[in-house]
Amino acid sequence: MRPFALIAVLGLLAGNAHGQVPEWLSKFSLHGYISQAYAVSDEHEILGIPTDGTTDYRDLALQFRYDQDRKNTFVLQLRQERMGDSPREHDDVELDWAFYQRNFSDRLTLKAGRIPLPLGIFNEAGGPGGGSPFFRPPNEFYDRRYSSKTLEGVLGSLELGGPGGWTFDVDGYFGQWKVDYGLEGEQSDARNAWGGQVWANTPLSGVRVGAGAYRCDVEPPEGVAADYVMLHASVEADLDRWRLASEYMSGNLDQWGRYRAWYAQAGYEVTRRVSIHVRGAVARITMPAGDHMANATLSEDLGVTVNYAIHPSIVFKLEGHTNEGLMREDMPENLYGEPAETRYVIASVVASF
């Protein structure tokens, strides 16, 4: 942790130095974010948040980018995410991304390596750095048991112009990733993964709709491999004062059943510095139970947050949630058990540069 913290501090001190610098240095850029929180829950531990509270709750990243010329770019990002007492904790600093990008034109690019996976609104950009008004994007939609933050493989991206001010961003990818297995921190390989996503940017600035799909062979530590086929759709409107977003995911998990998740989020900028956001998110699973299929509500989460921006890049967030479902972490996971209700609060500050 210490070397990374040192690098992060140096990065913050350095900022995005764009003064008069040598040409080779002007091709290099340094970005990052730090999101530090205090979190506490009342009835059960959930999302790593214990009932006695924790400050061991943060997400930070440091990104190095080298634009060698107009055609060639190299990007590397280190990341550490601390989730309190979560059994799914990944303690070490991770190589989040390391990829090469070839720009064939202003509209067509190809990336190869460990790449952020284009999936919905928040997957690529992550939470704190990517402008989520909550500490993290909804776990229901971005649950790492069904999707991944990164792809090890290749990604092609194409920007297309359309009539009447419409534009389209098209992504296609192939490779592999890992998904979490249960709530205990084990991971499964997801191989032969391929998929794509299309965003339609409407003529109304800040309003876009998107849809995508992917499939992969999930190979658990024990048992038979499963063929996941996931579909997702998104709509987002960032209208200066109003910020609206909603996403839906539906997945066929082969012999393990079917997963569905959706959420809706709305925010209003009261003043230049203060904004209020509410979010409702749901995750449900249909799974085999003897000779029939059973339905379970994994999570129903309702959250509200107040954001206070002391600077466009420094934001304080105070959020409260009430959650009902099976995501509690203070007892063994039981998808056939009774749902429990838990409330939790997260107070955080995020700084990005």
């Binding site: 764009h18 690529e124 992550g126």
Partner: protein, 143 residues
Amino acid sequence: MLRALVLLMMAGLSAAGVRAEELPFRVVVHPSNPIVSMSRAELSAIYMKRTRSWRDGREIVAVNQPATTRIREQFSRAVHGKSVSYVTRYWQRLIFSGRAVPPRELRSDAAVLKFVMTNSEAIGYVGKETLPGDGVKVIAVTP
């Protein structure tokens, strides 16, 4: 007919000039750049990096002013029709998805002028009260 055409052209040029003067900033490029005007939408596309090349194929190097300055807010409202907060979110998303990085920020009008003077591919903006001098060319911004 010819006279009417000339009058029409003069009226158009005058209108373009008035529109440029209405903005609280001047947009500047290198004197060797043949461009004389561009629309707000074209300017917005350049600063959002949706347009990355000049018409002759050279890369556009846009320079911005710091996010906390008044001129940046004025530029953002006039050109993008959005707040600086919105534009910051837009760039955070692109940065932290590894797709692109925002235009460089230079700390003052003087720094912008110096940069544009010495970079033939550059475009920047300075306060209306700042005299650009001979080393840069002011272009008109049309609606």
